[in-house]
């Protein structure tokens, strides 16, 4: 039986209520009759033999590329770069897709007699991964083979000796990437494509680059003109990365791109109710939902966070594409859209969404208010093709506790951003002009980024820019169940119930607004006609 496609449900009397993510917990909300709820397609069937699929992709690449084996020769310098801990979310059950692919790549390299092989985690300005995270992504065998010999690196965008400047794009954008990668005879990039933003030229041009290079597309101007950044053909972010990708190719660097796509089989058995549509919950599902949400209410947040952080998703691999970057990515996007895209007609006055406990930047950590902002206004708001789900001047209602909690190890500069930047201004342009450089060049943040596990000092700024398009577009944002003080600091309002939230929204959109709910989990992307 093939999976049912996604669809738009119109709320009527018989509708049992909608499950909202609410950080480390859930809410069951009754949306007003007539509201639309976007349900994603059901999880696509997984490839029956992933290893065979990988072999197939490596040996029969797409685009203008020879098979991987033909690109490998003794005495060459080979660098295998891979996506970091920000993908996928939550982390997948072992074996991770990356470890499967890398093992197959290494096997071919060994067969071809390649001796100089280095693995690099493509961090860009993300935090360094911990040992257990690396072990999970690569598998113990690969980790133990490479790490003790110093052949497993994490990209260091602040290493003065570790970067190579490649030149400028036609638009004057600097292109600078990892020296090891630039000096390799071949870069094999191993990606996991969870959402349509990932992959393509963004993998190397962003993942292995430096602040000098990144700031050309990670800025307010670009983000406001990426509508959305999930739709690469209307995304300035991607255009810039593609220009840089071409500069990289022109400078003679050879990339063999391997992209994998996953289905939306996100939760293990205990949380199976999260995978189902509410009216199809069995008695068991209902009991599981009730006991889970009730017990979570009395669990201290840090403990609930630990519980959720231990979730490993039983994702299935839906496709592997390898070869030339652009051709590979076209195939990848097709797969991602097939899994996530739902067509919907017209915008609405209000968009509602529930925000989960994890986003790309708080794996094994705390979702602080800035990350809540970014997940809602950056990621979920941008899960559209065509036009936003909510009209200009409309209202976004997102559900999350938004506690003013921060991780001092992973997000030290976020704390300063929260205390010293957002207290002065929330305007992305002004923030960029007044504060970005100081944070980006701060030696303490650079120290923590390079030696600890901290996101780069400039990272919270990118989070703020990520939401710039939504910020410009929306009339108001209401955080359902959010901490009132934190919401105010973000420039938003907090409501304790959905009715209150709708009441507050009525000031902006009148008393009979049209409402659309972006149903998650699992991930869904709207094509708004």
């Amino acid at each position: 039986m093939s999976p049912r496609p996604g669809f738009v449900l119109n709320v009527d009397k018989s509708y049992p209520g909608t499950l909202f993510w609410h950080g480390e917990g859930f809410r069951l909300e009754k949306l007003p009759e007539g509201s639309r709820v976007l349900y994603p397609p059901e999880a696509m069937p997984a490839l029956r033999d992933p290893v065979a699929a990988i072999d197939q992709a490596l040996d029969y690449p797409v685009g203008e590329s020879e098979p991987l084996s033909a690109l490998l020769r003794p005495g060459m310098k080979l660098t295998i770069a891979f996506d970091d801990v920000s993908l996928p979310l939550p982390p997948m059950e072992a074996p991770d897709a990356r470890s499967l692919v890398i093992e197959r790549v290494l096997e071919r390299a060994a067969r071809a007699g390649v001796e100089d092989v280095v693995l690099i985690a493509a961090l860009a300005l993300h935090r360094r991964m911990t040992e257990s995270e690396l072990r999970h992504a690569l598998g113990d065998r690969v980790f133990d083979a490479f790490n003790p010999r110093g052949l497993l690196l994490q990209h260091d965008a602040e290493d003065p000796d570790g970067l190579t400047y490649l030149g400028k794009t036609a638009h004057g954008e600097d292109v600078e990437i990892s020296r090891r990668a630039a000096e390799s005879d071949l870069i094999v990039y191993v990606n996991i494509n969870l959402v349509s933003m990932d992959g393509g030229h963004k993998s190397v041009a962003t993942g292995l680059s430096s602040y000098k290079s990144l700031r050309h597309h990670h800025n307010v101007e670009t983000m406001v003109h990426s509508r959305s950044f999930m739709d690469m053909h209307h995304s300035e972010l991607h255009s810039s990365n593609w220009r840089m990708g071409r500069v990289i190719a022109e400078s003679g660097i050879k990339i063999f791109q391997i992209e994998t796509t996953l289905n939306t089989n996100t939760f293990p058995k205990a949380f199976s109710f999260l995978q189902k549509r509410e009216w199809e919950w069995s008695l068991k599902d209902r009991v599981a939902f009730l006991s889970a949400s009730k017990s979570l209410e009395v669990t201290p947040p840090w403990l609930a966070r630990n519980i959720f952080s231990s979730i490993r998703s039983p994702y299935g691999l839906t496709g592997v594409n390898a070869g030339e970057v652009e051709a590979v990515h076209a195939g990848t996007l097709k797969n991602v859209y097939k899994q996530q895209l739902v067509q919907v007609e017209g915008q609405s006055d209000i968009l509602t969404m529930g925000l989960p406990f994890v986003g790309p930047y708080n794996v094994n950590s705390i979702m602080n208010p800035i990350l809540v902002y970014c997940l809602g206004l950056g990621y979920f708001f941008n899960m559209y093709k065509g036009q936003p789900l909510v009209r200009e001047g409309g209202v976004l209602i997102m559900s999350h506790p938004t506690r003013p909690e921060f991780d001092p190890v992973f997000h030290p500069s976020y704390i300063d951003f929260w205390e010293n930047v957002l207290t002065q201004t929330r305007d992305p342009k002004e923030i960029e002009a007044r504060f970005e450089r100081d944070f980006a060049e701060d030696p303490w943040y650079i120290h923590l980024y390079r030696t600890g596990h901290a996101y780069h000092g400039v990272h919270p700024f990118y989070m703020w820019y990520w939401g710039a398009h939504a910020l410009e577009h929306l009339g108001a944002v209401i955080i359902l169940g959010g901490d009132a003080k934190a919401a105010r600091r973000l420039g938003f309002m907090a409501a304790s119930t959905m009715n209150d939230a709708l009441e507050m929204a009525s000031q902006y959109v009148g008393v009979n607004p049209s409402i659309t709910h972006l149903h998650s989990p699992p991930l869904v992307m709207a094509e708004v006609l």
Partner: protein, 779 residues
């Protein structure tokens, strides 16, 4: 008539810087044309007699109206009319030099108003000032006149005493010398003086007995904790001095009460009068005895007051709700007199015909016999006024004033003493708890309560007898003076107590003045001056002035300690179950370790670090990054790190001084220009010996380090900032111009509050489990 009679005369006044003296100086200069004033002033440590006279008398608010009237003429006129001579009333012949004696010889009137008004002054000082003072003035007059070759009886000496020399007397107290009225015997003045003079040295030697010193040391340790030798010694010496003074007060009060006076003040004042009459009957002397002097009714302006006097602290304590009961007889008379009535009486005495030598007329300036203010009436007025004009507490809530039941003194004393004992007990317990930062406020709040109760108790002990006094002060002589006044005197020299409208005086003049002077909160505004002061201090600290900023580590930058770091390393390679066991064992050791730490920080570090003996240094260094990112950073205070970074942004040099081991703090190094940490010696195989290279930087060593760094960076300790959390850092905090107590333990918080130091309560970032165990693991 008074003004004309006294015009052009010269007044020699003692005690001019006091409440009555300043009022008198103002009246003389403002109301008597061409009068001249010579003030006897004790020179200050850094200022001359004239400087003090100018600062404390002429520049007082009392001269406001005169200043306004004279405009630009004020200063030159005052310079011409006011002079000051250095001297001390407790010294024979006032300790005057030649110029002083000449000035005294040139005076027409001598007014002695100097006294130690505090009722709880130690007996020897009360004796030397109150008892010997009047006779010292008299002998100075004789010496001055002999030097100048004039007749001493030509000067009119007016000595100010107190109505309460009557002691525990019931009924009418006449305006006559005590020898003519007293029922009980007057003790031998010479014996009392001799006894009091020896008393201090006796108490001084008693306070140096070993058992006493041991007790003082215990108390010093209780107050300061492990602050190091020199500071403890300083504190001990202070406690010893206080003990001597307390004993002297106690003995003085007991002696006075045994003879029929409520306290050493009235006792020594009474004997002072007696001695004057006994030894100086050849001089022209009048005695003026005011009762309780309070704020002025008309001159220099309504409600003028200087200093905090007897009734004010009681009224303020009552308004704050601290004083729930005060003993007193409801229908008893509280004898209060506005200060301007007293000054008028003095000047009227001067203007009246001078008495014959040896006659010594007495004028009681009191209200009780002619226009009594009943105790109950006063209490009702005060209560009513504060109900209408409540005082506000720190949270902006109005304080409800209690209703007084006029209980007996014994009951109030017992109640307060019981309360005080209970609070002492709670305090002793609370101080043993490891409270910090905002929770430490509990202890300081408690301490403030304790102080308040103690104060209330001391008011009751000291002043209770004044509210219970049953003597009524005769004012026949005073009314005689009033009768001589002419109409032209009425405005400037009112002295008839019948003119006082008590309701108006209490509610419109006195209480508003008391509240103004006490600077208590009369508006419900929440954020008080303290937080404004705090942010101003922070601004000053974070200015571009070049300076060094010194940080302690434990509980100042990171909520952790050397034990944690050790536990983390020790458990790193253990299995999970063993980790828990180890942590538990260490926890069980906690109280012992804390006790050693409290006694001496250096000893504690030396002892504890032996546990690292034979550890591999390279392995410890390798683990330090994980320790930092996996544990210490989670327990760090983001505000502290931000503060360090802000200092750097202002170009300051940042310095870390810690008892932690060098490899533990290594990952913090980029924040600091200098790091002073403990280092350990190694054996031949690169293993730690468990012994420190040099003495750990604790106590006074830190103060010395701060000085060295200040010098090395070409700045001063005055400009330096130091951040620390415990009293063991006191030497360092005291060494700098800008001490900041961070999450202070109760003892340090108390000290910081008293000295007006900045206090910061920095907290860990929210989000991690509150109890983070120091269990080692890689991230």
């Amino acid at each position: 008539m008074i003004a004309e009679k006294l015009a052009g005369k010269t007044f020699f006044v003692t005690g001019g810087t006091g409440f009555l003296g300043t009022a008198l100086a103002e009246r003389i200069l403002a109301a008597i044309p061409d009068s001249k004033l010579v003030l006897l002033v004790r020179p200050g440590r850094r200022s001359s007699a004239m400087d003090r006279a100018w600062r404390e008398v002429v520049n007082n608010d009392a001269f406001g109206p005169l200043k306004e009237r004279l405009g630009n003429d004020f200063e030159p006129q005052m310079r011409a009319r006011v002079s000051a001579v250095a001297g001390d009333v407790s010294k024979n012949a006032l300790g005057l030099d030649e110029a002083g004696l000449a000035a005294l010889a040139g005076a027409d009137f001598v007014v002695h108003s100097a006294a130690t008004v505090s009722f709880d002054s130690p007996l020897p000082s009360a004796v030397s000032v109150n008892l010997l003072g009047p006779s010292n003035v008299a002998s100075a007059i004789k010496l001055a006149c002999a030097t100048a070759g004039i007749d001493p009886a030509g000067k009119h000496f007016i000595s100010v005493s107190t109505s309460y020399v009557a002691g525990y007397r019931r009924g009418l107290a006449p305006e006559r010398l005590l020898r003519e009225t007293r029922f009980s015997p007057i003790p031998s003045i010479d014996d009392e003086v001799a006894f009091a003079t020896e008393l201090r040295s006796k108490m001084q030697s008693e306070s140096r007995e070993p058992e006493k010193l041991a007790r003082f040391e215990k108390k010093a340790r209780y107050d300061l904790g492990a602050a190091g030798g020199p500071l403890l010694a300083e504190k001990l010496e202070k406690i010893r001095q206080e003990w001597v003074d307390d004993r002297l007060v106690e003995i003085g009060r007991a002696r006075a009460q045994s003879l029929g006076w409520p306290d050493a003040y009235t006792f020594t004042k009474a004997l002072g009068e007696e001695m004057l009459a006994r030894d100086h009957s050849d001089l022209t002397i009048s005695i003026v005895r005011p009762s309780i002097i309070e704020s002025s009714m008309i001159h220099p302006y309504a409600g003028w007051i200087k200093g905090f006097r007897m009734a004010e602290p009681i009224i303020v304590s009552y308004a704050r709700g601290l004083l729930k009961e005060f003993p007193g007889v409801p229908e008893g008379i509280l004898d209060v007199i506005p200060v301007d009535f007293v000054t008028s009486a003095i000047l009227a005495t001067a203007a009246a015909a001078a008495p014959e030598p040896g006659a010594i007329p007495v004028y009681q300036v009191a209200s009780g016999s002619s226009n009594p203010l009943r105790y109950k009436r006063l209490v009702d007025l005060v209560r009513g006024w504060f109900q209408e004009h409540p005082v506000y507490d720190a949270d902006g809530q109005p304080i409800q004033v209690p209703e007084w039941n006029f209980p007996g003194r014994g009951r109030v004393q017992r109640q307060l003493a019981g309360l005080s004992r209970n609070l002492d007990l709670v305090d002793a317990i609370a101080r043993k708890l490891p409270l910090r930062g905002e929770r430490a406020e509990l202890v300081t709040d408690l301490d403030e309560k304790r102080q308040a109760v103690r104060r209330a108790l001391s008011y009751v002990e000291l002043y209770g007898s004044y509210a219970e006094t049953e003597a009524i002060f005769d004012v026949t002589n005073l009314l005689g003076l009033a009768a001589q006044l002419e109409e032209s005197d009425a405005e400037d020299f009112h002295l008839n107590p019948n003119l006082i409208d008590w309701d108006r005086f209490v509610t419109e003049i006195h209480l508003p003045s008391v509240v103004r002077h006490a600077r208590i909160k009369t508006t419900p505004e929440r954020k008080g001056a303290s937080s404004r002061r705090e942010s101003r201090q922070t601004e000053e600290i974070l200015s571009d002035t070049f300076r060094i900023a010194v940080f302690d580590l434990e509980n100042t930058v990171i909520a952790s300690n050397v034990v944690d770091a050790f536990a983390w390393y020790a458990t790193r390679d253990l299995s999970l179950g063993k980790k828990a066991l180890f942590a538990l064992a260490l926890l069980a050791e906690g109280p012992n370790l804390m006790a050693v730490d409290r006694a001496d920080r250096g000893d504690f570090l030396r002892t504890f670090y032996r546990r690292y003996s034979r550890a591999d240094r390279a392995a410890l260094e390798e683990g330090s990054n994980d320790l930092f990112n996996g544990y210490l950073l989670k327990k760090a205070f983001p505000k502290a790190i931000e503060r360090i970074r802000r200092h750097r942004a202002h170009g300051h040099r940042t310095i870390l001084i810690t008892g932690a081991l060098d490899f533990v703090v290594e990952p913090l190094a980029p924040l600091f220009d200098e790091v002073v940490a403990c280092t350990m010696t190694e054996d031949a195989r690169g293993r730690l010996t468990g012994n420190l290279d040099v003495a750990p930087p604790t106590g006074e060593a830190r103060a010395l380090l701060v000085e060295e760094f200040a010098r090395a960076y070409g700045t001063t300790t005055q400009d330096a900032v130091a951040y620390a959390d415990s009293t063991s850092d006191l030497p360092m905090l005291e060494a700098v111009g800008y001490p900041v107590a961070v999450n202070p333990e109760p003892k340090l918080l108390q000290i910081a509050k008293k000295r007006g130091w900045s206090v910061e309560n920095w907290q860990r970032q929210q989000g991690h489990p509150p109890l983070l165990l120091p269990i080692g693991r890689s991230l």
